[in-house]
Amino acid sequence: MTRDSRSDEVMVPCGRPTVAATSIGVAALSRLERDGVGTIEGSYRDALNVNFARGMVSFVRDHVQKGPINVGLRLPPDMLDMSSLGLKAGGEVKVRGGSVELGGGLEVTLAPAELYAPDTHFNKEIGSEAEIADNLDVMVRTAIEHGNTTGLGSLLALILDEASSLNSGPLNMFALAGLRRLARVENAYGRGERGDIAGAVRDCIGLGPGLTPSSDDALAGMILACLLFEANRGIENGPARVLARAIEEGAIGRTTPLSQEYLAQAARGRGGEVAMALCEELFTGAPASVERETLRMLALGESSGTDTVVGIAIGTMLSIGRRTRLDGGV
């Protein structure tokens, strides 16, 4: 099958290339609204993280999922990735009149960007507990089969309440350490005591591999699931808000700045596009869509996707009033 190549857009770099942002998260937007200067926190292959006065913004290649602090960019063809901008931590980034000077000669215009402002309200009604439990089963099994176990993935088999033949592999040192810590968070959540919850969460921050450590991804998943469940069931003053506050406060100083940001956003019910879609399918969708979104989630990062699924699973169990087997089995 011979094929003609589609004509590639060739940008001849001359002067300062301007790049249009394709998407902008709601928190990123508020952080870039006013003119000012930011400091580069870290430069990575897929992202450039910059601290502004009102918080961090993550400039990412546009194949990265949309997120509340993300600004998606379509890079010119001669630019391999974000790290090829040659920027380093401590460098300056200027915002002026809706444009961002990223340095490395690249200027970003924000105006064309599509706003990513995830809605906590689902399009359909939440299913019954039995339906959610079925979807949860699909999500956990899919994650066991296709997920990554360098973080907390090996805890997956302990989350569902039947002692089934599920086996998610041997526990690495982080999963071992995470096991009792997550169990403690679960128990505290069940009792609803603010002090207990805060203490349990503090002890669970910053554990495991990744720029967003595994336990942070799990907590983010957990709180998203709990908040979205409560928001869509019309539950006010539920335990999710207590957990959210504990997570936002507990993260300060105990983990990487990026992870702190993600946890703060999750604590407000704002997740990345994939996490929001997965939660929505889990609570309102059919098993096939749950599987599809789970696979999308698992593809994120190294173990980030799997670790987030661990958290979503625990949060879902808590929301439908069930206990996991993290606490030494039932």
């Binding site: 190549s5 590639d8 290649r61 194949h63 063809p77 999308r296 593809a299």
Partner: protein
């Protein structure tokens, strides 16, 4: 490297040599891709290329 292909059990990391839209489609699926800005060897002269190959370059 003896033994079976390992890509079925590993995360794909792709080097795309040729049409760049294939790389775009892979990135849409969150696959790591390095796009090679390929140029024909020996200035596109196939005979010359074959000679160079024979010489082991």
């Amino acid at each position: 490297m003896p033994g079976k292909s390992s890509i079925l059990t590993e995360t794909l990391v792709v080097v795309n040599i040729g049409v760049s839209t294939f790389a775009d489609d892979l990135r849409t699926q969150n696959v790591d891709v390095v796009q090679v800005d390929w140029r024909p060897p020996a200035g596109g002269d196939v005979e010359m290329m074959k000679l160079l190959e024979k010489l082991g370059t």
